[in-house]
Amino acid sequence: MTTLDVPTRGFSGDIDRPRGGALAALMRHSMALARRSLIKTLRTPEALIDVTIQPVIFLLLFTFLFGGAIAGGDRGAYLQFLLPGLLAQSLALGGIALGQNLNADIEKGVFDRFRSLPVARSAPLVGAVAADVVRYLTVCVFMLGFGTLLGFRVETGFVPTVAAVALSIGFGLCFCWISVWVGMLVRTPGAVQGVMFLLIFPLSFGSNVFVQTNTLPGWLQAFVHVNPITPLVSTIRGLLLGGPVAHNLTITLAWMAGLLIVFVPLALRAYARRA
């Protein structure tokens, strides 16, 4: 080992005052940590199976295996109906990996290092969530791309399609805070998946993803109407296939805000308590 030069402090000015204030610092640190997550994602492309191959398998399964039975033989029409719904389900499922990764990071002690640094407590979580944008964009690209190969056609135009993708990513970023929270609470990455499946499958099947709501018994319709997946699916359908979206979009945005208001503080508190 060679000797190191006499250290000069890496900070200029007052070391207790982060550049640009607390919020700017949170953004800066979160982006540095998001970059870390992205590098990890690119190093392990197999970790993207749940946002690439898995949604495609669902699409094939429901279009060709169940589609004929559900839609009375008209597979083309069912694909048009199904794809926006499956997109919503894939976004919800796509957030599970985040909770699992954070759970593993905590077990490995990587977060101890971050917590001993002068960064906001929330930065590691915010950074990890921000990096998930790439995963939700991947879901949208794969679903729309593969769907087009199967015969799905956007009936509106470019701008509404971009709006649908933006809303999808936004919803994914809000919904994944549930997974983050669960990841802070349970002991193993496997348990994150178990808990999230228990939550997501009733939400995605008990909605308008796979079937028209008016085919359901009354009590189930009541559940479908309070389910956040339902207005999201209706909005994406409206944006891709045409029809009014304002009402459902408002409800969806309210749900997204609600998810953040409830689960961000829960996740941060659970993170602070863990370890």
Binding site: M1, P7, G10, V110, D112, R113, L117, P118
Partner: protein
């Protein structure tokens, strides 16, 4: 500014039924190394985690670099570096990426962060591995990278939690060199260890913790004096020569001590032990024993083991001993 760079008083922390810290006081002078010595589960890691702002104690006061750890943790974090017991480098990132990330989180510009990373990687002999993912590193390389990560921000106070556990002796001595260099550059280092030898090699002062309590705070020499220091132990081939061997070895005994026949419970009888001042005693003892015609089957110089330290320190405090038995 106070001469003490770490000061803790009456730290208590309980995890369920375990009282991990049971009223710990610590004091470390600026520019020195404080060795915190203790067996597994003694509370060393818990104490470090409290001082490094990772854990809130149930009770007590702690101050690092003159700043209250509980009231202003963010200010403390700007002045410390932490290397945990388990190397916490990111395995999917390269050596450079690991250090640049830390630099960015310390608000260095990307350029400065890269410069600092390159500097540290070179210093820790990791330049060639800089572009490789940390998962391809050996255990020693990971430890070095982990230590480098804690030095990115030129910390005033460095916490090293068992930095050499699991390293081979050569790598351990490399690590000691790193710690000494940090101190010559003005940092203060608090290091926990299970090895008396390590604390002896590095620390200006040693705190011994057992079951959440400080049972000694002394200089290494002071501690050794209390424990007994070096011991020369010989075993004559003919057990009847034990008294003769004792007479010969009295001549090399440390001032104020005598050779004695080993009678400790569990020890095989027939050996003679003598406390000695240093290893020069060996040079004098061997010819003397030969001259006396005493043939040996075993001969050795022993440092006090951690067990002996605890035995010596807990001896004569029956209350502590009794409580230990209850736990």
């Amino acid at each position: 500014m106070s001469d003490l760079v770490v000061r803790a008083e009456g730290l208590r922390k309980r995890f369920g039924k375990t009282q991990a810290l049971d009223g710990v006081d610590l004091a470390m002078r600026r520019g020195t190394v404080l060795g915190v010595l203790g067996p597994n589960g003694a509370g060393k890691t818990t104490a470090v985690r409290v001082l490094a702002t990772l854990l809130r104690p149930d009770e007590g006061y702690a101050e690092v670099a003159g700043i209250d750890v509980l009231k202003q943790p963010a200010r403390v974090r700007r002045r410390i570096g932490l290397t945990g017991q388990y190397a916490s480098v990111d395995e999917d990132l390269t050596g450079t990426q690991n250090l640049v990330l830390i630099g960015r989180l310390l608000d260095l510009t990307t350029r400065d962060a890269k410069k600092r990373a390159a500097e540290l990687l070179e210093w820790f002999d990791l330049s060639e591995a800089a572009g490789r993912m940390a998962k391809t590193y050996s255990g020693g390389m990971r430890r070095r990278l982990d230590l480098a990560a804690s030095l990115v921000g030129h910390p005033e106070v460095i916490f090293l939690d068992e930095p050499t556990t699991g390293l081979d002796p050569a790598k351990r001595e490399d690590m000691w060199g790193v710690v000494r260099t940090q101190v010559t550059q003005g940092a203060s280092v608090l290091l926990t260890t299970q090895y008396l030898e390590e604390a002896d090699a590095l620390a200006d002062e040693i705190v011994v913790i057992n079951q959440g309590r400080v049972i000694a705070h002394d200089s290494p020499d002071g501690l050794k004096r209390r424990v007994g220091g070096l011991t020369l132990r010989v075993r004559p081939a003919d057990p009847t020569r034990v008294p003769d061997a004792m007479r010969v070895l009295d001549a090399v005994a440390a001032p104020g001590t005598n050779a004695s026949a080993d009678t400790a419970a569990g020890a095989r009888p027939g050996a003679v032990s003598v406390p000695v001042a240093d290893d020069m005693a060996l040079d004098r003892a061997v010819p003397a024993l030969r001259q006396a015609g005493i043939e040996l089957v075993d001969l050795g110089l022993h440092l006090p083991s951690l067990d002996e330290v605890f035995h010596a320190l807990t001896e004569g405090t029956p209350t502590a001993a009794k409580e230990n038995e209850l736990v």
